[in-house]
């Protein structure tokens, strides 16, 4: 089976997506984009607990890269249009994951996204975010609804961890764009030094 890099948030969906991939026998490396100070410590704590559970269940080491993302958020908020902030943020997450994949010899990326689950998870936003990377992206949950995902999360024991209290991402704009225009996204991104940001973040990543 193949080796992939999976973005994990600490929410309900990503451990379920990871469970499906591990059940198929794929080998995974996890990447958590650490959004502090725009969140509290809870997302990272949840990810650590999810991984402990899934490592045990599937007898896989699943290395965890914790990539600092707060300074990227600050740079984006200071220099780009807030309306498209979530799409820009996702592009940096994907790029970081792809950089980790290069380092880890992984050939694909995985995410727990499900279509239309939150305002920013629309087809146009997913497209605008993922064209930033070249590796194939696997979305095991894409056609599932929230109830189906929650049922699996309860079955595998990750639901209780995911729903612990925590501070939501403070960088999410009041009205995130639901239909993004790639030309505008690229224009906004020109205002920041993409390569420098990614280099810095991945260099500062810690592996747990």
């Amino acid at each position: 089976m193949a080796r992939g890099v999976m973005l994990v948030s600490g929410g309900i969906d990503s451990p379920v997506a990871m469970h499906y991939m591990l059940r198929q026998g794929h080998e995974l490396v996890a990447v958590h984009m650490d959004n502090r100070p725009f969140t509290d410590d809870s997302p990272l704590e949840k990810v650590v607990d999810h991984l402990a559970m899934l490592r045990e269940r599937y007898r896989q080491p699943i290395p965890l890269y914790v990539v600092p993302h707060g300074s990227t958020q600050t740079t984006l908020m200071r220099n780009t249009d807030r309306h498209v902030g979530c799409v820009l943020c996702r592009r940096f997450m994907w790029r970081s994951a792809e950089r980790v994949a290069e380092r880890e010899g992984a050939t694909f990326l995985v995410t727990g996204e499900a279509l239309g689950q939150v305002a920013s998870q629309t087809l146009s936003n997913m497209h605008s975010a993922t064209v930033a990377v070249g590796l194939p992206i696997v979305r095991p949950l894409i056609g599932l609804d929230k109830q189906e995902i929650e049922a699996v999360a309860k079955e595998i024991g990750t639901y209780g961890i995911s729903t612990r209290p925590g501070v939501c991402c403070q960088a999410v704009p009041d009205r995130p764009a639901t239909r993004s225009n790639l030309v505008q996204i690229l224009r906004e991104e020109e205002r920041v030094d993409v390569e420098q940001i990614i280099d810095d973040c991945v260099r500062k990543a810690i592996i747990l």
């Binding site: 707060g70 600050t74 908020m77 200071r78 209290p165 501070v167 403070q170």
Partner: protein
């Protein structure tokens, strides 16, 4: 006036919301906090201040305290009120209303 502090939507912190919204000068707020020795991340549309507990300050005056302890949030709120000259809350009507740094 600020509404009573309440848990935020994901129950991870306490938020204080002014009604009506304020129009804070975040540069002035940042300068004031830094004069108190508080480290501040300036994200232009909001500030993230390393008070105890940490707080997010929005231009509208919304404050989010990253703690699940209501007493700690209330203490930090009163501290910020003094530093930033913010209005009082509906549970504290002994304190005169003011307009905040604008």
């Amino acid at each position: 006036m600020y509404r009573r502090l309440r848990l935020c939507s994901n129950n991870g912190g306490y938020e204080a919301i002014p009604d009506p919204p304020l129009r804070l000068d975040l540069v002035a707020v940042r300068d004031r906090l830094e004069r108190e020795g508080i480290a501040v991340v300036d994200a232009r549309v909001m500030l993230l201040a390393a008070t105890d507990p940490e707080v997010t300050v929005s231009r509208s005056g919304r404050l989010l305290f990253k703690t699940r302890d209501p007493a700690a949030a209330e203490r930090a709120f009163q501290q910020l009120r003094r530093w930033l000259d913010l209005p009082g809350s509906e549970v504290d009507d002994k304190i005169p209303r003011r307009g905040g740094i604008a």
